[in-house]
Symmetry: C2
Subunit: 426 residues, 2 copies
């Protein structure tokens, strides 16, 4: 079985290494050797650590896609139209595709799945979500018969690393981010992670598979961690919890066509919840189903070898299907309905810095009351002689009311700074 | 697709209910309805909550096994030779088999797998281990390409419930057990759970799949929780941990034919370890692989609906394979080598009650020294005027030295009681 590899970065190199280290054992298990037939690279002069004959490298996509001996293409090119085109071309050439490309999948899943179905080939993507955790296969196969009501998880290792550092070292986001960048846990441009957009792409894929209803990254309501401060962690600690960036997909089980709610947001997670103890760059996904109840999967969310392990699992599954002339079908319906913005509710934490003067608290409280936001708890800290830090924990209320409250707070002269809005995981 | 059901207790009834509730959706997903063709029961007069036509019930195994319309048999009869015979008969009749029978599988796995392979049918058993957690499929498919070095888990919900109660309510094993029995978490005869034998059966199955080397329940070194006392929990708490009954399978990755080590034992688990926070009747399994690193799966370890969910996942997979005229192959080699008793080592906690008199501690310590067991920490508590409770935490040492130490301690006149031996999870 010859495999074409598109891209040879961290994950690609780790995959080549795995196939090399375990080749004999895998050949025995599968009844035939898995062989790298071609590797598409961008820069032929770059020094690579992988140990393959140099004639396998090419800079021409066609030399992989048009090679009739290659039956399976592993796409590890990263975001961009080129990768999307390459996958379509591979499927058009009757090759199965294994990809880790969350960006493309969260935008073009139905098109790729139809293209694969049309030629009776697979498109597998375990590695696109939650690194080494075998989540996608669990959702596709083991939980195929379940009606799932909720998936909530920590699916971005960079932000979880930063939040864990802030929690344990009592440092600011800026310091934690700089540390993470120095240690290679965060990229030079960290906004894709910190804005919550990376988590949104993964959530879109997870929700599509879990509900059988297509969700794109653009459908996800996203709020990142840029505004989270050490004061938020103090408040979370006093409330008995920690702060995590959560990706959550929910659907009522009442009706099969119930609307879907997909969101990424920073939240206070009570320390008794299993997600609270997920530290550092680990990922964890909590699944609730009608019959099974609550399951949790956790493991490394990134890294060359764990991700390559997920790719290898897909490769093995795809090879078996090719040899049995079958494919793993997926029914994902388009035209998903989403819970309307106005119906989104939750328990929120708002914090503001105000001028420390008589009457200020009543001015601020009045804005909450005016928007029918009921306060469950309020805390005040002195900041210095002139400013005070106020934190409000609400009862369950509408997101729209929270937004209106924030807008009106901005207009108050006594408000010096609006901090993050956190949710509380229920 | 007609299914024959053997046994209609808690799990069987829940399965019938699931098929009833979700029949339409499942039929749509699978392209054909799943129908219960026959249900074997022992007592036709027993009142049942399931809603099926009474003509489906039979007390004759042959009416299920010989029905040519039934292509798949779900075996939920529990331990005993009858269930084993029924599975062999079903396979001989070219029916795929889905079972939750950990007792039979942990004793006769190779025979059942060969019988299934001979007729190109599946034998699936997700529900035999860790209830609703999709562990077996993760090991068989997602981690098929991984070289696994260790699996350690909490796979018995009854003992975990009892240990959690002892920890949180500061009560004795006897009290916790009586509570568990009253609430239905423990059986009238709890010895199969408390002795660790139930966990050993599950571990045998897990280890066989994880390592591809047949392990039977008889190969597992088993130590239960009968001896665990509140004093052990106090010691664990002071050490920063909790006590869990662990099932652990280990194999060195150095050589493909390295010997396997399989053990069930009570252990102190540090609270930073993910297994420490697994509470009540939940199960959790921690997996270490060469490429993926550390994964954890957790969820409900028992219960009608979660277990039925695992059975249903197997049913769906088996139906797909039947329709594709294929099966899921499994390579499990017999003749597994096991780590010899003399090579078993660990970090141990021994506790004894002694007469509280001058010179006693030195007498006891001398026995440890004589057996080359080095002490990392010792604690002494007064029990009453005449007795003292001593706890010894050892450095890494051989189990054989611990056994010799215990034997010689028994001979000392000053020793009034030898408590449990705990391990420390590393």
């Amino acid at each position: 079985m010859k495999i074409g590899l598109l891209g040879c970065g961290t994950v690609g190199s780790a995959l080549v290494q795995l196939l090399d280290d375990d080749g004999e054992r895998l050949a025995q298990l599968l009844g035939e050797p898995l062989e790298i037939g071609r590797i598409l690279i961008r820069d032929p002069d770059k020094l690579r650590s992988v140990d393959v004959p140099s004639h396998l490298f090419t800079t021409q996509l066609a030399e992989v896609i048009d090679d009739p001996e290659i039956e399976l293409v592993v796409e590890l090119l990263g975001p961009g139209e080129f990768a999307f085109g390459a996958m379509k071309a591979a499927l058009a050439g009757h090759k199965s595709v294994v990809t880790a490309n969350k960006e493309i999948l969260s935008m073009h899943f139905p098109e790729l799945e139809s293209a694969a179905a049309a030629v009776n080939r697979d498109i597998f993507f375990e590695a696109a979500v939650a690194g080494g955790i075998p989540l996608i296969r669990a959702l596709r196969v083991s939980l195929f018969g379940e009606r799932l009501s909720r998936i909530v998880g920590i699916v971005n290792g960079t932000t979880n690393y930063i939040l864990t550092q802030m929690q344990e070292e009592h440092i600011s986001l800026e310091t934690a981010l700089a540390d993470a960048q120095r240690l290679g846990y965060a990229e030079a441009d960290p906004n894709g992670d910190l804005s919550g957009r990376d988590a949104a792409s993964k959530l879109a894929i997870i929700a599509s598979i879990a509900f059988g209803s297509y969700v794109s990254a653009a459908d996800v309501r996203v709020d990142g961690i840029w505004g989270v401060t050490p004061a938020d962690f103090d408040f979370a600690r006093r409330s008995g919890g920690v702060i995590k960036l959560l990706a959550q997909a929910e659907r009522s089980l009442d009706r099969p066509d119930a609307p879907v709610r997909v969101e990424v947001f920073p939240a206070i997670v009570m320390s008794t919840h299993p997600l609270a103890s997920v530290r550092g760059s680990f990922n964890a996904v909590f699944v609730e189903g009608s019959a099974v109840g609550q399951l949790m999967f956790s493991g490394p969310g990134a890294g060359g070898r764990p991700t390559a392990s997920a790719v290898l699992a897909d490769v093995i599954d795809a090879v078996k299907n090719l040899r049995n002339a079958t494919r793993a079908p997926m029914r994902i319906v388009e035209g998903t309905r989403f819970v309307e913005d106005v119906a989104i509710d939750g328990v929120f934490v708002l914090s503001v810095d105000v001028i420390d003067a008589p009457g200020v608290l009543s001015q601020v409280s009045e804005v909450f009351g005016h928007n029918y936001v009921s306060i469950a708890r309020m805390e005040q800290d002195e900041l210095d002689g002139e400013l005070a830090h106020l934190v409000f924990l609400t009862h369950r209320t509408r997101l729209s009311s929270i937004r209106a409250t924030m807008e009106q707070l901005t207009d108050l002269a006594v408000i010096k700074r609006l901090h993050s809005v956190l949710r509380v995981l229920e």
